[in-house]
Symmetry: C2
Subunit: 298 residues, 2 copies
């Protein structure tokens, strides 16, 4: 028996829909991760990796000079002069930040900045020329466009682009003036993303390993979580750039690229939660709930 | 000299604009807080306060039976039987949750549930009948309407309302089945709001004091931040309801009401940041960045 026209048409529709159905098939994050290729990972430039050694272990941060060239250059000058070695984490404010600095910065025995600059211009946002933001489909409370730029969470108004204060982001502490930060005192976000700080502070990068050494530090009981006595502070043994370290002595770090089809799949797997545990798959995502995976080969 | 028509018009415009200018006048959070009246605060029902005693201090949570009547009734039955006394915090996952439970729940020596129920129906969302959500002006990634209901962060689709997984929210741990939680194991959010959990778990309340005792707990190195050995766990000395405690022996707690003009002012002061430090006042706000102030009189 020959098929009717409508049967033919139905078959055609099924055949045409097949690729779509396959693309829409629920994929768990585990399935997406398993399918990753080597080319879906990037190895950050060691000159942009910052290794902070504490008694409890090592915190590794990635810097992104495309967003804060002057601040980062100044910080590298400070690192070259071992400025941070022997300073301390002087603040831990619950659901907000930890911060380090020279505890004697305001005293006569303040550590010398050497050849580093006393003040650095604010680098709160930059033009979109020469930088791509891979936007995600999210209704964001703080910006019209959000996504990832150079692998970092970023936001944009269509003209300028800026880094977003997600968990683990590293920024330059400052006083009231916009130009008062110079990189001698840095902070790390250890709570719910305080996105109202976006475009109010210079962000320089993100913690990619060891954040749990910072986020568990006892909260300071002084104003804004500052410690009230010097012995509550956590000493910083050293801060070094990855490029200063022997390749053999540092971990090999890879971060998932954010400009690939695989990353888009990853974001979808975080948007539609198909793990068995989920009753309601959500279908929504917020920028700071996407954390590009990091793998570290020791 | 008589004023010209255009001068008259200019004066009229200025006079008409005056009230607007006054209403729009920048107010800092400090100024809003200073102007609060006694009626802007509420004293939570002691029967809905949960006092958890750890070696490091006391964590106080407020329960909201309007959202999870059955789960909370079961938890109160467990508290009456001192079920939680001697259990432990067995999980601390960075940027996510801490969780407590009977470490031997799966063993032969599991603590008896007494007259508490083995399973409790899921209470993931409820009808809007009989509950008001005071919405805030925010573009939320996860829900069409967000605001506060009964003083707690909540979201809605216009038909149902549910509690939102903001920092400090307390929920009922469960296995894969929606009905598998019974309140014997509870969790507290200690990281960036995992709002994809909304409508996937029963939330019962929020930590209103002492969250910093939970958020600093060393992260577990097992899967999902579970501790790998019993001696890493933090013992829970006791959990009691406020109504069980002598009024003299417990702190007097007050929380800012969320259904007042003063709270609307407070939200505006968090939306437009007029503190001297801010360069860009933002003009935007996200639900979980609004934390109703708590005052505790010891």
């Amino acid at each position: 028996m020959r098929p009717s026209i409508s049967q033919c048409f139905a078959l055609l529709v099924v055949v045409l829909l097949l690729p779509l159905a396959s693309a829409d098939e629920p994929r768990s994050t585990a399935a997406v991760m398993e399918a990753l290729q080597e080319s879906d990972w990037r190895e950050p430039d060691p000159a942009n990796l910052l290794f902070m050694t504490l008694a409890s272990g090592t915190v590794i941060m990635e810097l992104t000079p495309a967003f804060a060239p002057n601040s980062i250059a100044n910080i590298k000058t400070l690192i070259d002069a071992a400025y941070f070695d022997g300073l301390a984490i002087i603040r831990s404010q619950d659901n907000y930040v930890i911060q380090w600095a020279d505890p004697d910065a305001q005293e006569e025995n303040a550590k010398s900045l050497g050849s580093a600059k006393e003040t650095v211009p604010a680098e709160f946002e930059r033009s979109m020329d020469g930088i791509d933001i891979v936007s995600i489909d999210s209704r964001d409370a703080y910006a019209d466009i959000v996504g990832f730029a150079n692998g970092f969470p970023a936001a944009s108004d269509g003209q300028n682009v800026w880094l977003a204060h997600c968990y683990g982001m590293v920024g330059v502490s400052r006083d009231n003036g916009a130009e008062t930060g110079n990189g001698t005192s840095l902070y790390v976000i250890t709570g719910h993303a305080p996105r109202h700080l976006d475009r109010n502070v210079t962000l320089i990068g993100r913690v990619i390993s060891g954040i749990e050494l910072l986020s568990v530090l006892p909260r300071g009981t002084g104003t804004l979580g500052f410690y009230e006595s010097a012995d509550e502070a956590t000493p910083i043994m050293s801060i070094r750039l990855g490029s200063e370290l022997d390749e053999a002595e540092r971990a090999r770090i890879e971060i998932m690229r954010t400009d690939t089809a695989a990353f888009a799949d990853y974001v979808m797997s975080r948007t539609y939660r198909h793990e068995e545990w989920f009753v309601e798959p959500t279908g929504r995502i917020e920028l700071c709930n996407i954390n590009p995976p990091v793998r570290i080969i020791h």
